[in-house]
Symmetry: C2
Protein backbone atom coordinates (compact mmCIF):
# COMPACT_ATOMS: atom_id res chain seq x y z
CA UNK A 1 0.00 0.00 0.00
CA UNK A 2 1.35 3.40 -1.01
CA UNK A 3 0.03 6.81 -0.09
CA UNK A 4 0.07 8.88 -3.29
CA UNK A 5 -0.94 12.30 -1.95
CA UNK A 6 -0.18 14.63 0.91
CA UNK A 7 -2.83 14.49 3.64
CA UNK A 8 -5.66 16.99 3.10
CA UNK A 9 -7.31 18.12 6.33
CA UNK A 10 -10.86 19.52 6.14
CA UNK A 11 -13.90 19.49 8.44
CA UNK A 12 -12.15 17.35 11.02
CA UNK A 13 -11.14 14.68 8.49
CA UNK A 14 -7.71 13.71 7.14
CA UNK A 15 -8.03 12.59 3.51
CA UNK A 16 -5.27 10.66 1.73
CA UNK A 17 -5.08 9.03 -1.71
CA UNK A 18 -3.48 5.59 -1.86
CA UNK A 19 -2.95 2.65 -4.14
CA UNK A 20 -3.10 -1.08 -3.36
CA UNK A 21 -1.73 -3.25 -6.19
CA UNK A 22 -1.95 -0.16 -8.45
CA UNK A 23 -5.68 0.26 -7.69
CA UNK A 24 -6.41 3.82 -6.57
CA UNK A 25 -8.28 4.45 -3.33
CA UNK A 26 -9.04 7.14 -0.76
CA UNK A 27 -8.77 6.93 3.03
CA UNK A 28 -10.51 9.33 5.42
CA UNK A 29 -9.63 9.26 9.13
CA UNK A 30 -11.02 11.40 11.97
CA UNK A 31 -8.43 14.14 12.68
CA UNK A 32 -9.14 13.92 16.40
CA UNK A 33 -8.61 10.15 16.75
CA UNK A 34 -6.27 9.21 19.62
CA UNK A 35 -6.56 5.42 19.22
CA UNK A 36 -7.18 2.94 16.38
CA UNK A 37 -10.66 3.47 14.90
CA UNK A 38 -13.28 1.29 13.17
CA UNK A 39 -13.53 1.36 9.38
CA UNK A 40 -16.37 1.70 6.87
CA UNK A 41 -15.75 0.57 3.29
CA UNK A 42 -17.61 3.04 1.09
CA UNK A 43 -19.23 1.31 -1.87
CA UNK A 44 -20.13 3.26 -5.03
CA UNK A 45 -21.17 2.63 -8.64
CA UNK A 46 -17.65 3.27 -10.03
CA UNK A 47 -15.66 6.45 -10.68
CA UNK A 48 -14.28 7.64 -7.35
CA UNK A 49 -13.14 10.94 -8.84
CA UNK A 50 -16.62 12.05 -9.95
CA UNK A 51 -18.18 10.44 -6.85
CA UNK A 52 -15.73 12.29 -4.58
CA UNK A 53 -18.08 14.96 -3.15
CA UNK A 54 -20.66 12.39 -2.08
CA UNK A 55 -18.07 9.93 -0.77
CA UNK A 56 -16.33 12.69 1.21
CA UNK A 57 -19.66 13.76 2.74
CA UNK A 58 -20.35 10.18 3.90
CA UNK A 59 -16.79 9.95 5.25
CA UNK A 60 -17.25 13.21 7.17
CA UNK A 61 -20.42 11.89 8.81
CA UNK A 62 -18.59 8.71 9.84
CA UNK A 63 -15.59 10.67 11.12
CA UNK A 64 -17.90 12.70 13.35
CA UNK A 65 -18.76 9.36 15.00
CA UNK A 66 -15.05 8.45 15.29
CA UNK A 67 -15.04 6.06 12.33
CA UNK A 68 -12.60 5.98 9.38
CA UNK A 69 -13.79 5.42 5.81
CA UNK A 70 -12.05 4.10 2.72
CA UNK A 71 -12.91 3.32 -0.87
CA UNK A 72 -11.18 1.83 -3.92
CA UNK A 73 -11.92 2.28 -7.60
CA UNK A 74 -14.02 -0.48 -9.17
CA UNK A 75 -12.67 -2.72 -11.95
CA UNK A 76 -13.48 -1.13 -15.32
CA UNK A 77 -14.20 2.32 -13.80
CA UNK A 78 -12.25 5.58 -13.62
CA UNK A 79 -8.89 5.18 -15.37
CA UNK A 80 -8.92 1.39 -14.99
CA UNK A 81 -9.12 -0.84 -18.11
CA UNK A 82 -12.64 -1.98 -19.09
CA UNK A 83 -13.85 -5.35 -17.78
CA UNK A 84 -14.24 -7.89 -20.60
CA UNK A 85 -17.87 -8.67 -21.31
CA UNK A 86 -19.40 -6.04 -19.03
CA UNK A 87 -19.35 -3.34 -21.73
CA UNK A 88 -21.25 -5.74 -23.96
CA UNK A 89 -23.88 -6.41 -21.26
CA UNK A 90 -24.18 -2.67 -20.66
CA UNK A 91 -24.97 -2.08 -24.35
CA UNK A 92 -27.60 -4.86 -24.17
CA UNK A 93 -29.08 -3.20 -21.07
CA UNK A 94 -29.30 0.17 -22.82
CA UNK A 95 -31.02 -1.40 -25.81
CA UNK A 96 -33.53 -3.21 -23.58
CA UNK A 97 -34.33 -0.05 -21.59
CA UNK A 98 -34.69 2.07 -24.75
CA UNK A 99 -36.99 -0.53 -26.30
CA UNK A 100 -39.02 -0.67 -23.09
CA UNK A 101 -38.29 -4.39 -22.82
CA UNK A 102 -37.81 -6.21 -19.52
CA UNK A 103 -34.17 -6.58 -18.50
CA UNK A 104 -33.39 -10.30 -18.84
CA UNK A 105 -31.48 -12.40 -16.31
CA UNK A 106 -28.63 -12.89 -18.80
CA UNK A 107 -28.10 -9.12 -19.05
CA UNK A 108 -28.14 -8.73 -15.24
CA UNK A 109 -25.74 -11.65 -14.81
CA UNK A 110 -23.38 -10.32 -17.51
CA UNK A 111 -23.45 -6.85 -16.04
CA UNK A 112 -22.97 -7.64 -12.37
CA UNK A 113 -21.33 -11.04 -11.79
CA UNK A 114 -17.97 -10.32 -13.51
CA UNK A 115 -17.80 -7.06 -11.58
CA UNK A 116 -18.48 -8.79 -8.23
CA UNK A 117 -15.98 -11.56 -9.03
CA UNK A 118 -13.27 -9.01 -9.86
CA UNK A 119 -14.04 -6.40 -7.22
CA UNK A 120 -14.45 -8.50 -4.06
CA UNK A 121 -10.85 -9.82 -3.92
CA UNK A 122 -9.66 -6.23 -4.46
CA UNK A 123 -11.77 -4.91 -1.57
CA UNK A 124 -10.38 -7.71 0.62
CA UNK A 125 -6.80 -6.84 -0.37
CA UNK A 126 -7.54 -3.20 0.44
CA UNK A 127 -8.91 -4.31 3.84
CA UNK A 128 -5.66 -6.22 4.53
CA UNK A 129 -3.64 -3.10 3.77
CA UNK A 130 -5.91 -0.69 5.64
CA UNK A 131 -6.14 -2.86 8.77
CA UNK A 132 -2.33 -3.01 8.89
CA UNK A 133 -2.23 0.76 9.41
CA UNK A 134 -1.71 1.73 13.06
CA UNK A 135 -4.61 4.21 12.94
CA UNK A 136 -7.18 1.60 11.78
CA UNK A 137 -8.29 -0.96 14.34
CA UNK A 138 -11.60 -2.33 13.04
CA UNK A 139 -14.25 -3.67 13.19
CA UNK A 140 -15.18 -3.14 9.53
CA UNK A 141 -18.52 -2.46 7.84
CA UNK A 142 -19.51 -2.14 4.18
CA UNK A 143 -21.73 0.76 3.15
CA UNK A 144 -23.62 1.58 -0.03
CA UNK A 145 -23.83 0.01 -3.46
CA UNK A 146 -23.14 -1.87 -5.62
CA UNK A 147 -25.37 -4.05 -3.42
CA UNK A 148 -24.19 -7.33 -4.98
CA UNK A 149 -20.61 -6.51 -3.97
CA UNK A 150 -21.81 -5.88 -0.42
CA UNK A 151 -23.67 -9.21 -0.35
CA UNK A 152 -20.66 -11.19 -1.58
CA UNK A 153 -18.35 -9.41 0.87
CA UNK A 154 -20.76 -10.12 3.74
CA UNK A 155 -20.70 -13.83 2.83
CA UNK A 156 -16.97 -14.36 2.26
CA UNK A 157 -15.29 -11.81 4.55
CA UNK A 158 -15.60 -12.58 8.28
CA UNK A 159 -13.99 -9.26 9.24
CA UNK A 160 -17.11 -7.40 8.02
CA UNK A 161 -19.47 -7.24 10.99
CA UNK A 162 -22.32 -5.11 9.58
CA UNK A 163 -23.46 -3.70 6.25
CA UNK A 164 -25.53 -0.71 5.20
CA UNK A 165 -26.67 -1.57 1.70
CA UNK A 166 -28.21 0.65 -1.00
CA UNK A 167 -30.74 -1.37 -2.99
CA UNK A 168 -30.36 0.64 -6.17
CA UNK A 169 -29.07 -1.79 -8.80
CA UNK A 170 -29.98 -5.06 -10.53
CA UNK A 171 -29.29 -8.20 -8.50
CA UNK A 172 -28.39 -11.49 -10.22
CA UNK A 173 -30.24 -14.64 -9.14
CA UNK A 174 -26.94 -16.11 -7.90
CA UNK A 175 -26.54 -13.18 -5.48
CA UNK A 176 -30.13 -13.69 -4.28
CA UNK A 177 -29.07 -17.19 -3.24
CA UNK A 178 -25.89 -15.93 -1.55
CA UNK A 179 -28.04 -13.48 0.43
CA UNK A 180 -29.54 -16.37 2.43
CA UNK A 181 -26.07 -17.01 3.85
CA UNK A 182 -25.67 -13.43 5.12
CA UNK A 183 -26.06 -13.35 8.91
CA UNK A 184 -24.55 -9.98 9.94
CA UNK A 185 -26.78 -7.03 10.93
CA UNK A 186 -28.05 -5.17 7.86
CA UNK A 187 -29.49 -1.72 7.22
CA UNK A 188 -30.96 -1.61 3.70
CA UNK A 189 -31.88 1.66 1.99
CA UNK A 190 -34.39 1.57 -0.86
CA UNK A 191 -35.60 4.53 -2.88
CA UNK A 192 -39.26 3.54 -3.33
CA UNK A 193 -39.78 5.68 -6.46
CA UNK A 194 -36.43 4.87 -8.12
CA UNK A 195 -37.71 4.43 -11.69
CA UNK A 196 -34.57 2.63 -12.92
CA UNK A 197 -34.72 0.08 -10.10
CA UNK A 198 -36.74 -3.10 -9.73
CA UNK A 199 -38.51 -2.59 -6.40
CA UNK A 200 -39.82 -6.14 -6.14
CA UNK A 201 -36.29 -7.47 -6.65
CA UNK A 202 -35.08 -5.28 -3.79
CA UNK A 203 -37.89 -6.51 -1.51
CA UNK A 204 -37.15 -10.13 -2.46
CA UNK A 205 -33.47 -9.58 -1.69
CA UNK A 206 -34.28 -8.04 1.70
CA UNK A 207 -36.53 -10.99 2.48
CA UNK A 208 -33.81 -13.46 1.44
CA UNK A 209 -31.15 -12.18 3.84
CA UNK A 210 -30.51 -14.69 6.62
CA UNK A 211 -29.71 -11.97 9.18
CA UNK A 212 -31.72 -11.94 12.40
CA UNK A 213 -31.24 -8.17 12.58
CA UNK A 214 -32.18 -6.46 9.34
CA UNK A 215 -33.95 -3.16 8.67
CA UNK A 216 -35.41 -1.92 5.42
CA UNK A 217 -35.66 1.86 5.16
CA UNK A 218 -37.59 2.94 2.07
CA UNK A 219 -37.99 6.59 1.11
CA UNK A 220 -39.17 8.84 -1.70
CA UNK A 221 -36.96 11.13 -3.77
CA UNK A 222 -35.74 9.03 -6.70
CA UNK A 223 -32.44 7.21 -7.15
CA UNK A 224 -30.18 10.00 -5.87
CA UNK A 225 -32.69 11.64 -3.51
CA UNK A 226 -32.01 9.73 -0.26
CA UNK A 227 -33.37 12.14 2.37
CA UNK A 228 -31.10 13.53 5.06
CA UNK A 229 -32.93 11.70 7.87
CA UNK A 230 -32.26 8.36 6.12
CA UNK A 231 -28.54 9.18 6.11
CA UNK A 232 -28.79 9.90 9.83
CA UNK A 233 -30.53 6.56 10.37
CA UNK A 234 -27.66 4.80 8.58
CA UNK A 235 -25.13 6.68 10.73
CA UNK A 236 -26.91 5.45 13.85
CA UNK A 237 -26.71 1.88 12.54
CA UNK A 238 -22.95 2.07 11.97
CA UNK A 239 -22.39 3.70 15.36
CA UNK A 240 -24.31 0.91 17.10
CA UNK A 241 -22.33 -1.84 15.40
CA UNK A 242 -18.84 -0.36 15.11
CA UNK A 243 -18.30 1.90 18.11
CA UNK B 1 -63.71 17.39 29.01
CA UNK B 2 -63.22 16.37 32.64
CA UNK B 3 -60.03 15.39 34.41
CA UNK B 4 -60.85 12.32 36.47
CA UNK B 5 -57.59 11.81 38.36
CA UNK B 6 -55.01 13.80 40.27
CA UNK B 7 -51.91 14.53 38.15
CA UNK B 8 -49.23 11.81 38.48
CA UNK B 9 -45.69 13.11 37.91
CA UNK B 10 -43.02 10.60 36.88
CA UNK B 11 -39.88 10.72 34.70
CA UNK B 12 -40.50 14.33 33.72
CA UNK B 13 -44.08 13.68 32.59
CA UNK B 14 -47.41 14.79 34.10
CA UNK B 15 -50.05 12.09 33.53
CA UNK B 16 -53.77 12.79 33.94
CA UNK B 17 -56.87 10.68 33.25
CA UNK B 18 -59.78 12.42 31.56
CA UNK B 19 -63.09 11.77 29.88
CA UNK B 20 -64.56 13.38 26.77
CA UNK B 21 -68.27 12.56 26.30
CA UNK B 22 -67.82 9.78 28.88
CA UNK B 23 -64.99 8.17 26.84
CA UNK B 24 -61.92 7.63 29.04
CA UNK B 25 -58.54 8.94 27.96
CA UNK B 26 -55.07 9.77 29.26
CA UNK B 27 -53.04 12.94 28.73
CA UNK B 28 -49.27 13.16 29.22
CA UNK B 29 -47.54 16.57 29.19
CA UNK B 30 -43.85 17.39 29.64
CA UNK B 31 -43.40 18.60 33.25
CA UNK B 32 -40.85 21.17 32.12
CA UNK B 33 -43.03 22.84 29.45
CA UNK B 34 -43.16 26.65 29.75
CA UNK B 35 -45.32 27.27 26.66
CA UNK B 36 -48.06 25.42 24.72
CA UNK B 37 -46.65 22.20 23.23
CA UNK B 38 -47.41 20.02 20.16
CA UNK B 39 -49.53 16.89 20.59
CA UNK B 40 -49.23 13.27 19.49
CA UNK B 41 -52.38 11.13 19.48
CA UNK B 42 -51.28 7.65 20.58
CA UNK B 43 -53.12 4.96 18.65
CA UNK B 44 -53.43 1.42 20.06
CA UNK B 45 -55.40 -1.79 19.45
CA UNK B 46 -57.89 -1.11 22.29
CA UNK B 47 -57.67 -1.45 26.06
CA UNK B 48 -55.79 1.58 27.37
CA UNK B 49 -55.53 0.09 30.86
CA UNK B 50 -53.60 -3.01 29.78
CA UNK B 51 -51.69 -0.99 27.13
CA UNK B 52 -50.72 1.60 29.76
CA UNK B 53 -47.02 0.64 30.23
CA UNK B 54 -46.30 0.81 26.50
CA UNK B 55 -48.37 3.97 25.97
CA UNK B 56 -46.62 5.68 28.89
CA UNK B 57 -43.20 4.72 27.50
CA UNK B 58 -44.07 6.29 24.13
CA UNK B 59 -45.42 9.38 25.91
CA UNK B 60 -42.19 9.69 27.92
CA UNK B 61 -40.10 9.60 24.75
CA UNK B 62 -42.29 12.34 23.22
CA UNK B 63 -42.15 14.43 26.41
CA UNK B 64 -38.34 14.31 26.26
CA UNK B 65 -38.71 16.10 22.91
CA UNK B 66 -41.16 18.63 24.39
CA UNK B 67 -44.28 17.01 22.95
CA UNK B 68 -47.51 16.07 24.77
CA UNK B 69 -49.31 12.77 24.11
CA UNK B 70 -52.90 11.69 24.56
CA UNK B 71 -55.03 8.66 23.92
CA UNK B 72 -58.67 7.65 24.22
CA UNK B 73 -60.26 4.23 24.64
CA UNK B 74 -61.52 2.63 21.42
CA UNK B 75 -65.22 1.84 20.88
CA UNK B 76 -65.90 -1.69 22.10
CA UNK B 77 -62.70 -1.90 24.13
CA UNK B 78 -61.88 -1.63 27.85
CA UNK B 79 -65.09 -1.02 29.82
CA UNK B 80 -66.95 0.36 26.78
CA UNK B 81 -69.95 -1.53 25.33
CA UNK B 82 -69.16 -3.90 22.44
CA UNK B 83 -69.52 -2.58 18.89
CA UNK B 84 -72.41 -4.26 17.07
CA UNK B 85 -71.16 -6.60 14.33
CA UNK B 86 -67.47 -6.42 15.18
CA UNK B 87 -67.66 -9.29 17.68
CA UNK B 88 -69.26 -11.37 14.96
CA UNK B 89 -66.46 -10.55 12.48
CA UNK B 90 -63.87 -11.31 15.16
CA UNK B 91 -65.34 -14.80 15.62
CA UNK B 92 -65.24 -15.31 11.84
CA UNK B 93 -61.60 -14.19 11.82
CA UNK B 94 -60.69 -16.64 14.58
CA UNK B 95 -62.40 -19.48 12.70
CA UNK B 96 -60.56 -18.59 9.44
CA UNK B 97 -57.17 -18.38 11.17
CA UNK B 98 -57.70 -21.66 13.05
CA UNK B 99 -58.74 -23.38 9.82
CA UNK B 100 -55.70 -21.94 8.03
CA UNK B 101 -58.00 -20.26 5.52
CA UNK B 102 -57.29 -16.88 3.92
CA UNK B 103 -58.98 -13.97 5.71
CA UNK B 104 -61.68 -12.76 3.33
CA UNK B 105 -62.39 -9.13 2.48
CA UNK B 106 -65.82 -9.36 4.17
CA UNK B 107 -64.21 -10.35 7.47
CA UNK B 108 -61.66 -7.53 7.25
CA UNK B 109 -64.37 -5.02 6.35
CA UNK B 110 -66.62 -6.21 9.18
CA UNK B 111 -63.78 -6.11 11.67
CA UNK B 112 -62.27 -2.74 10.83
CA UNK B 113 -64.72 -0.41 9.09
CA UNK B 114 -67.31 -0.12 11.93
CA UNK B 115 -64.43 0.56 14.32
CA UNK B 116 -62.98 3.30 12.07
CA UNK B 117 -66.40 4.85 11.54
CA UNK B 118 -67.06 4.96 15.28
CA UNK B 119 -63.57 5.86 16.50
CA UNK B 120 -62.59 8.71 14.17
CA UNK B 121 -65.30 11.17 15.30
CA UNK B 122 -64.32 10.38 18.91
CA UNK B 123 -60.63 11.10 18.28
CA UNK B 124 -61.65 14.38 16.62
CA UNK B 125 -63.83 15.33 19.60
CA UNK B 126 -60.89 14.51 21.90
CA UNK B 127 -58.67 16.75 19.72
CA UNK B 128 -61.15 19.62 20.11
CA UNK B 129 -61.05 19.23 23.87
CA UNK B 130 -57.28 18.76 24.13
CA UNK B 131 -56.46 21.71 21.85
CA UNK B 132 -58.65 23.95 24.02
CA UNK B 133 -56.31 23.33 26.99
CA UNK B 134 -53.87 26.20 27.55
CA UNK B 135 -50.91 23.77 27.73
CA UNK B 136 -51.57 22.21 24.30
CA UNK B 137 -50.80 24.34 21.25
CA UNK B 138 -50.44 21.90 18.34
CA UNK B 139 -49.57 20.92 15.68
CA UNK B 140 -50.96 17.40 16.04
CA UNK B 141 -49.71 14.04 14.79
CA UNK B 142 -51.18 10.53 14.95
CA UNK B 143 -48.93 7.67 16.03
CA UNK B 144 -49.31 3.89 15.94
CA UNK B 145 -52.15 1.56 15.07
CA UNK B 146 -54.88 0.77 14.32
CA UNK B 147 -53.46 1.91 10.97
CA UNK B 148 -56.90 2.28 9.32
CA UNK B 149 -57.90 4.80 12.00
CA UNK B 150 -54.71 6.75 11.26
CA UNK B 151 -55.44 6.74 7.53
CA UNK B 152 -59.00 7.99 7.98
CA UNK B 153 -57.87 10.68 10.43
CA UNK B 154 -55.13 11.80 8.01
CA UNK B 155 -57.76 12.19 5.28
CA UNK B 156 -60.54 13.95 7.20
CA UNK B 157 -58.70 15.93 9.89
CA UNK B 158 -56.71 18.91 8.59
CA UNK B 159 -55.19 19.59 12.02
CA UNK B 160 -53.13 16.39 11.76
CA UNK B 161 -49.87 17.36 10.03
CA UNK B 162 -47.93 14.09 10.18
CA UNK B 163 -48.50 10.43 11.05
CA UNK B 164 -46.31 7.59 12.26
CA UNK B 165 -48.27 4.48 11.41
CA UNK B 166 -47.82 0.89 12.59
CA UNK B 167 -48.66 -1.49 9.73
CA UNK B 168 -49.72 -4.34 11.97
CA UNK B 169 -53.37 -5.00 11.23
CA UNK B 170 -55.71 -5.91 8.37
CA UNK B 171 -56.62 -3.04 6.04
CA UNK B 172 -59.99 -2.94 4.24
CA UNK B 173 -60.00 -2.19 0.51
CA UNK B 174 -61.95 1.01 1.19
CA UNK B 175 -59.10 2.28 3.40
CA UNK B 176 -56.58 1.40 0.64
CA UNK B 177 -58.51 3.81 -1.58
CA UNK B 178 -58.61 6.52 1.10
CA UNK B 179 -54.81 6.15 1.43
CA UNK B 180 -54.35 7.74 -2.01
CA UNK B 181 -55.81 10.95 -0.60
CA UNK B 182 -53.32 11.14 2.27
CA UNK B 183 -50.73 13.84 1.57
CA UNK B 184 -49.11 14.52 4.97
CA UNK B 185 -45.60 13.22 5.80
CA UNK B 186 -45.71 9.58 6.90
CA UNK B 187 -43.40 7.28 8.83
CA UNK B 188 -44.61 3.69 8.50
CA UNK B 189 -43.33 0.90 10.75
CA UNK B 190 -43.66 -2.69 9.54
CA UNK B 191 -42.56 -5.81 11.41
CA UNK B 192 -41.30 -7.88 8.46
CA UNK B 193 -41.71 -11.23 10.26
CA UNK B 194 -45.08 -10.44 11.89
CA UNK B 195 -46.79 -13.79 11.25
CA UNK B 196 -50.30 -12.50 11.94
CA UNK B 197 -49.91 -9.65 9.46
CA UNK B 198 -50.28 -9.56 5.68
CA UNK B 199 -46.94 -8.10 4.55
CA UNK B 200 -47.99 -7.60 0.92
CA UNK B 201 -51.06 -5.66 2.08
CA UNK B 202 -48.81 -3.40 4.15
CA UNK B 203 -46.49 -2.80 1.17
CA UNK B 204 -49.48 -2.09 -1.08
CA UNK B 205 -50.83 0.38 1.48
CA UNK B 206 -47.46 2.14 1.73
CA UNK B 207 -47.33 2.36 -2.06
CA UNK B 208 -50.87 3.76 -2.19
CA UNK B 209 -50.25 6.74 0.09
CA UNK B 210 -50.30 9.99 -1.87
CA UNK B 211 -47.71 11.65 0.38
CA UNK B 212 -44.57 13.06 -1.24
CA UNK B 213 -42.68 12.37 1.97
CA UNK B 214 -43.18 8.84 3.19
CA UNK B 215 -40.74 6.38 4.78
CA UNK B 216 -41.18 2.67 5.33
CA UNK B 217 -39.12 1.24 8.17
CA UNK B 218 -39.30 -2.56 8.26
CA UNK B 219 -37.64 -4.59 11.02
CA UNK B 220 -37.43 -8.08 12.45
CA UNK B 221 -38.69 -9.16 15.87
CA UNK B 222 -42.33 -10.17 15.36
CA UNK B 223 -45.51 -8.17 16.00
CA UNK B 224 -44.49 -6.72 19.37
CA UNK B 225 -40.70 -6.72 18.81
CA UNK B 226 -40.17 -3.27 17.28
CA UNK B 227 -36.46 -2.64 17.99
CA UNK B 228 -35.38 0.32 20.08
CA UNK B 229 -33.62 2.03 17.15
CA UNK B 230 -36.91 1.99 15.19
CA UNK B 231 -38.59 3.80 18.07
CA UNK B 232 -35.81 6.37 17.99
CA UNK B 233 -36.30 6.80 14.24
CA UNK B 234 -39.99 7.47 14.83
CA UNK B 235 -39.12 10.01 17.54
CA UNK B 236 -36.88 11.83 15.07
CA UNK B 237 -39.77 11.93 12.57
CA UNK B 238 -42.16 13.52 15.08
CA UNK B 239 -39.53 16.02 16.24
CA UNK B 240 -38.91 17.12 12.65
CA UNK B 241 -42.58 17.66 11.93
CA UNK B 242 -43.96 18.94 15.24
CA UNK B 243 -41.21 20.96 16.91
Amino acid sequence: MNFTSEPRVENGVIERDFTVDDIPGILWTPASAQAPVPLILLGHPGGIRQMHPRLAARAEAAAADGIASATVELPGAGDRPPLPGVEHARADLRRALQAGEPVGADIVDGLVLPLVDAAVPEWRAAMDALLSLPEIGGPVAYSGGIISIGVRLAVVEPRIVAAGLFAGSFVPEAIMHEARRVTIPLHVLLQWDDVGNDRQMALDLFDAFGSKEKSLNANMGGHTGVPRHAGEGASGFFSRHLS
